[in-house]
């Protein structure tokens, strides 16, 4: 008996024209996919759009909360100008009016970014605005490491079609686009960037500090130094950290766990429980940093930094939003996706309706190991 290859079911196939046969990916097992195939595997437009909204809401809040600090750059002593990144070529700080316009416009751009309004222009504008503001913050003698991931995620989203759904200004009759690689790669690239960020930090510790870093002395001295510096310079420090550095024994395990979380970040790309476990571990790592050194990484602690690892379109609130986006496909009957016997859409039809039949077929396909999935798909 000749076995018939099972067609690959793309997680989250959206409404609109049925996928052409040529677009159907041959059956493959997860382990045999190349990194590029994995990166460009199809994903629903809603996932990317929800990532835009989550990151955009956070970034907009950041531009509002930091507005006084951004405006205060106009009062900085010019002699302290130590530009980094895209501002490195500037020998002096940007002119005050430029700083005021940038700081004032950023929150407004952020609102439009979240709304997805005229996204092709607003997306890059907002990403560049946040890049400039974050770089400006770090150009006075201290590079902040709290906004790197946010900026990188915004830059990825800026060049991605992240407002094809869940966006204002779109005509209601526009059909929801089918799941596609162009919606998949930005989300997975955002996840890869998170992994690389932690991996680089872990590698730097071992490369610079060597294996001695794991004995905990370096970490203990840093916790002591960081809290001491805050106390000496009249700032608030962590009483927990100050208490803990009296004891040597907690620091070797903390140091080892830190490096395990950082170097083990790649497991998040495997999806499933490993991903979830790593995200929880990374979140706890930042809770530890806050507790020991009073250093806040809000992008990570709010969880937004890790959103790219998950199927955002499965969020309960997103489901309602997705359904409201679904419009009758304008296709003639011959081109419409096939229907089940009872009229329910089949799994190859619009996943956004997320029917029982679709879920059942996708589950069966997943069990057969032939679904194109990313880390967020498991």
């Amino acid at each position: 008996m000749t076995s018939v290859p099972t067609p690959v079911l793309v997680a989250g196939t959206a409404s609109g024209p049925a996928p052409a046969p040529a677009a159907v990916t041959p059956p493959r097992t997860r382990g045999r996919r190349s990194p590029v195939e994995w990166l460009i595997a199809p994903a629903p437009a809603a996932r990317l759009a929800l990532l835009r909204i989550l990151v955009g809401v956070y970034a907009t809040a950041w531009t509002v909360v930091r507005l006084p600090a951004h405006l205060a750059h106009t009062d900085q002593v010019v002699a302290r100008w130590q530009p980094v990144g895209v501002l490195a070529p500037l020998e002096s700080p940007p002119a005050d009016p430029a700083i005021l316009v940038l700081a004032g416009a950023a929150p407004l751009l952020g609102v439009l970014f979240v709304a997805g309004w005229r996204y092709r222009a607003i997306g890059p504008l907002f990403a560049v605005a946040v890049l400039l503001l974050a770089t400006l913050d770090s150009s006075w003698g201290q590079v902040f490491h709290t906004e790197h991931l946010l900026v990188l995620h915004l830059l990825i989203l800026a060049v991605a079609p992240a407002a094809d759904v869940l966006a204002t200004g779109r005509r209601r009759a526009t059909p929801v686009p089918a799941a596609d690689g162009r919606y998949g790669w930005p989300v997975r690239l955002a996840a890869v960037v998170v992994v690389l960020t932690y991996a680089i930090a872990g590698i730097a510790k071992l490369r610079i500090g060597g294996l001695d870093w794991l004995d905990g002395d370096t970490l203990r001295n840093w916790v002591a130094h960081d809290n001491l510096r805050k106390a000496v310079l009249g700032d608030s420090y962590s009483p927990i950290g100050r208490h803990l550095i009296r004891h040597a024994w907690p620091f070797p395990p903390i140091a080892v766990l830190t490096v395990i979380v950082e170097l083990g970040a790649w497991v998040a790309l495997l999806g499933g429980r490993l991903r979830t476990a790593w995200v929880v571990a990374a979140w706890l790592f930042h809770v530890g940093v806050l507790a020991l050194m009073a250093i806040l990484f809000p992008y990570q602690l709010t969880g937004v930094a890790f959103a790219a690892f998950f199927r955002l379109e499965r969020l309960p609130s997103a489901s309602g939003a997705r359904r409201s986006q679904v419009v009758p496909a304008p296709n003639p009957p011959a081109e419409r996706p096939e229907q089940g016997k009872d009229g329910r859409p089949s799994a190859s039809e619009n996943h956004l309706t997320d029917t029982w039949a679709g879920r059942r077929e996708r589950a069966a396909s997943r069990a057969a190991g032939c679904e194109v999935v990313g880390p967020e798909d498991r």
Partner: protein, 132 residues
């Protein structure tokens, strides 16, 4: 992708790679600072001799402690004239009868945490009178 990522990661993690934004080597906490550290700062010496710590806002018109620390260190590195300028700048923000002093303190971090918050040593580089 792997061919691009691996050399990139290697370069970013090298000890002499620059720290920046949005790309960083994340070098923080990698170097061992040692248990005893020198910390420059600016303090106010009150008429009764008590030392009052000044905030980053007062020292360098910033809410960031490391930027304030860098501002003091840069002034010290730039020489006596720059240090005096910093002292007078800070004195202009202190609204109390006090002597403002740019100092370099040596601290044992672990000892500081255990009992004594005072420095092992405090060296005054420049002092100036606060305006009221």
């Amino acid at each position: 992708m792997v061919g691009v990522a691996l050399p990139g990661v290697r370069m970013m993690a090298s000890s002499d790679a620059p720290d920046g934004l949005p790309l960083s080597t994340y070098p923080m906490f990698a170097h061992d600072r040692g248990r005893v550290v020198e910390q420059p700062t600016v303090v106010a010496v009150l008429p009764d001799g008590d030392i009052e710590r000044l905030s980053p806002e007062t020292i360098a018109a910033t809410d960031q402690v490391i930027q304030a620390a860098k501002a003091v260190r840069r002034a010290l590195d730039a020489g006596p004239a720059a240090t005096r300028l910093l002292c007078e700048e800070v004195a202009g923000r202190v609204d109390a009868p006090a002597i403002v002093a740019v100092v370099v303190e040596r601290h044992d971090g672990v000892a500081w945490s255990a009992r004594d918050r005072g420095p092992l040593e405090r060296r005054t580089v420049v002092a100036c009178e606060a305006r009221r």
